[in-house]
Subunit: 349 residues, 2 copies
Amino acid sequence: MTKRPRSTGRTTIADVAARAGVSAITVSRALRTPDRVQAATRARVEEAIRELDYLPDAAASTLASRNSNVVGVILPSVTNKVFLGTLRGIYDVAEEGGLQVQISNSRYSQDEEERLLRIFLSQRPAGLIVTGIDQSEATRKLLRSAPCPVVQITETGPDPLDMMVGFDHAAAGALAARHLAEQGYRRIGFLGARQDPRSVRRQSGFRDSLEQLGLFDPARVLFSPDQSSVGLGSRQLLDLLRVDPKADAVLCNNDDLALGALFACQRQGLDVPNRFGICGFNDVEFMAFTSPSLTSVRTPRRQIGIRAMRLIMARIDDPAAVFAPEHLAVELSQRRSTGRDEDATSTPG
Amino acid sequence: MTKRPRSTGRTTIADVAARAGVSAITVSRALRTPDRVQAATRARVEEAIRELDYLPDAAASTLASRNSNVVGVILPSVTNKVFLGTLRGIYDVAEEGGLQVQISNSRYSQDEEERLLRIFLSQRPAGLIVTGIDQSEATRKLLRSAPCPVVQITETGPDPLDMMVGFDHAAAGALAARHLAEQGYRRIGFLGARQDPRSVRRQSGFRDSLEQLGLFDPARVLFSPDQSSVGLGSRQLLDLLRVDPKADAVLCNNDDLALGALFACQRQGLDVPNRFGICGFNDVEFMAFTSPSLTSVRTPRRQIGIRAMRLIMARIDDPAAVFAPEHLAVELSQRRSTGRDEDATSTPG
DNA sequence: ATGAAAGCGCTAACAT
DNA sequence: ATGTTAGCGCTTTCAT
């Protein structure tokens, strides 16, 4: 005795209403604001929904309410493992809040970022998350007048478009550089893959810090146009030794490079940490388990995702709320790969 | 005063039409099927769009056309690096086709998968991609009657819901097991993290294969409830040696475990490959660069994503088209970690 | 607590 | 090649 579907074949709120003996708007309310509908009415509506296997139409809802539940995220790369932790944070919080996440991929291009942003804006997003602080002027303008909360993530800086969660990449680079110097390394190199603005700022923190100590040599800074990988780290380590056979340590711009550097040292028979120190960046899980374990700069990737989504939800709840940029802390996970003497304690986890 | 309708302030297609001196439908056509509009008219429309800074409303378009451009993807985990390659393939093709990708995360739960599917269906997706073949009956029913193309990925099997792209996990497990046996290993273990249906089938291929050779011992099969990680691989290797101190090789259910196992061997002073052989699964990039390099089963992760999206696009173009399940090939990347004598050639890549 | 009417902004279907 | 009409399915506004 089921009701005959309508022209599109889709069961609508009107079908449910008829079945439950109420009006359409009551069904709508039972779905969105259940406490404004009497329990008995609500029960009948819910039963009708189940019987008819009703699925709401998100497009109709968005159109009528001028509001979707989609949060758009623009990342420079979807392949990059670095963003995995942040994505996890984003998804975890999004689920709590009943929000849908849509990721897109700007491939490190400002023009592509603007194009993607326009696509997102056409969906009346509930919120937008963009990576970094280097948007084009057109993009900045669109974001400033976006009809939804906007968060810039990963990096903090001046002139926030709206909200901001990240850390200071130059300071993080400096932290690692100072650590290597303190451990007694004197000919310290820098390995980086395809540059993005964050890499550049990390390197400049590294440079400034070593310059102050009189230890900086630009010849020991290697950037590759290739994508980051373990293989690249191995190759770059050999390159570094070619440039400066006496190089005695390296800051790797991410952990894959550090792992590659470690393997290259093993193959070359270079003792890590005594002959050669290695420090990575991000502190992904494996760094604690290599042999020897690898020092790295721990970055709050998951926290960035969590905080960004929480800011969006807070702003949805209270559109007038103002939130200051959040500068998250970065610290060093000191391990054996930079501990020339005894030292080096760090709990795996 | 008559009832004042809602004001949105949003620039609409009608505004553009007025500005360009045409009707709304002409603007719509200029946007979607430009070749059905005269060049001069089109030019005026485009100018009006620019002048007014018009952005289409995706919800209105979806509602009117009964069709979004969103492809929904349900993965068991968004954190798992294994899916990164597949995601890359999906995004690469989606961009070509002007489709938006929406990922969600079933956390290996069938109920959650069904819930997510309902959310996707409420968006009138252009296509759906689900992982594996172990959907609940309710989910299968929803997918069978979904008004869009559906692809099951990662694994092939009987009873496809619609289209299918993957490989045979049992055969892949068997391939690795035979390889280890052929290399002369005799007490071969298996390490796996939190089980999913694919892990189980890989293990059963491994088991069947070794049973035929009289080499299987269930005591050497270790599954952990924990998530896969390098640290887990290290711990499990030690566990295996505790269970069977004479164990001489291990098939790791993924490459992180294999890397962890390698580090544990290094720490234990076990010679790899002569005292102990290690084979991983997936063949991620770093496997070719460890020291010694690690043998692994190469799986076509990126291809799976590419083919899945291409199938969706092909079906959108021709809704009547029928596509048989695609069984992709899996092969062994043989490297030093399983080459007891000389042997072992494999070019890094 | 519930309902009626009026759109939200766009496109399908049918004109011309 | 372009326009007219009539919704798509829902939620807002205003009323009871």
